[in-house]
Symmetry: C2
Subunit: 210 residues, 2 copies
C-alpha cells in the first residue's frame, strides 16, 4: 500500500514526527468516509419518558440508512465508564461531563451518536453543548407528561420516590428543567415510537446531516 | 422507511418497551455494516518511543483500506475526558481505566480504535484486556531503547526528569514493565515508521480482522 510516509524514520529527527502528526487522518477524512455529518443527538427527558426507546429507534433507522452510529445510555455507561460515580451534585455533573466528552470523541470519529440520559438541568446540557462545535450538538427533548411517566414507571422508581425510598428523584422532589429552545421537541403523547423517531430523522434530513 | 416497529406505542404497555430494546441495532449489525472486525490496538511503550506516531500511521493505513477507525491519545483525552486527573497512582490507574472503558465503547460501536498511552504497568494493561472479549484487545509493544527515546526527547521531558524537575518519570525513576506476550512486538530500531505500521496492519490481515 502506498503512503506518503515512505522515507520517515521512527528514529529520525524531530521534524519527521511533526510531518507524521500532520499527516494523520483528519476529522474531515473520517466524515467523508462515513458519508454523512457527525453529531451528538442529546436526548433529554424524564425517567420513563421514552428517551432510550426513541434513541434506539432513531439509531436503528439511521443504521438502516447506512449511517455510522452508536448509542450511549445507562446500559453501557453506568456500570462501565461512570461506574465509580455516585448521585451527589458533583457526581451528577461529572456523569454528564464524561458522557459529553465521550460523545465529542465519537463525533470527532465521524459518528452520529445518540446519548440518552435524563440530564435535567440546563446548565449541564449547556456544558455539553459548549464542548462541541456549532451544529454538532442536537438537543432532542422527549416531552412526555410526568403523569404518563409515573403511570408507566417501568423500573418502579417513581413508586420508590413517592414512598421516600429514593431522594432527589427528577420530577418528584428534584426539578426537571425543560429545554428552552431544543433543536427537536418531540411531544410523545398520541405518537408511536416510530413517529417520534421519524421526527428526529426528518430533522437530520432537513438540516442535511444525512 | 419500513421498520419492525410500526405498531409499538411510546405510551403503550411495558412489553412493547422490551421489544424495542431487543430490536435495537446489535453489535453484530454494526460490525457487519463496517465490514471488518473491531478491536482496540493498545500501543504501549516509553515516552518518545513512537507510540502515537505509529498508531497514527496504522490508523492512516486502515482508513485508506476503508476501515472505520479512531485514535485515542494524549491530544484528545488528556485535556478532555481525563482533564481532571492528576499523576498519583490512583490518577494513573483511573486514567487507564477510563481509556479502556472508552475503547470498549468504540469496539462495541464496531471500530478499530488505536489507543496510544505509555501504560507502563502490566496490571493496568491487564485491567483493560479483561474489560474486552477474547480477540478484542491487541497489545502492541512499541519497543524503542530508552537511550534512543532519551536522545530524541521530543517534549524535553527526559531532560526535566534527569534534572529532577519531573518525578516518577517512566524509564528514569519509575519502571516500565515490558509486555510479556504482546500480540505485536514492534522493534523500531532501523525500521521506518511505515515498516512499523505495516507490521501491525499485517497482523490484522493475518488474523483476519480486515
Amino acid at each position: 500500500m502506498s503512503t506518503p510516509y515512505s522515507n520517515k524514520e521512527v528514529n529520525g529527527d524531530k521534524s519527521s514526527d511533526v510531518v507524521w502528526h500532520e499527516a494523520a487522518v483528519s476529522h474531515e477524512a473520517r466524515v467523508k468516509l462515513n458519508g454523512h455529518k457527525p453529531a451528538v443527538l442529546w436526548f433529554t427527558g424524564l425517567s420513563g419518558s421514552g428517551k432510550s426507546t426513541v434513541a434506539n429507534a432513531v439509531d436503528y433507522m439511521l443504521h438502516q440508512l447506512g449511517a455510522k452510529t452508536y448509542v450511549l445510555d445507562g446500559d453501557n455507561v453506568r456500570h462501565g465508564l461512570n461506574g465509580d460515580l455516585g448521585f451527589s451534585d458533583a457526581g451528577r455533573i461529572e456523569n454528564i461531563r464524561r458522557i459529553g466528552e465521550v460523545s465529542k470523541l465519537f463525533v470527532d470519529a465521524g459518528l452520529l451518536v445518540s446519548s440518552a440520559f435524563i440530564s435535567p438541568f440546563n446548565a449541564d446540557r449547556q456544558m455539553v453543548r459548549d464542548l462541541l462545535a456549532e451544529g454538532e450538538f442536537i438537543e432532542v427533548f422527549i416531552d412526555t407528561p410526568l403523569a404518563v411517566c409515573e403511570q408507566r414507571d417501568p423500573k418502579g422508581l417513581y413508586q420508590k420516590a413517592r414512598a421516600g425510598e429514593i431522594k432527589n428523584f427528577t420530577g418528584i422532589d428534584s426539578a426537571y428543567e425543560a429545554p428552552v429552545n431544543p433543536e427537536v421537541h418531540v411531544e410523545t403523547a398520541d405518537k408511536s415510537v416510530e413517529e417520534c423517531a421519524q421526527q428526529v430523522v426528518q430533522y437530520l434530513k432537513q438540516q442535511e446531516y444525512i
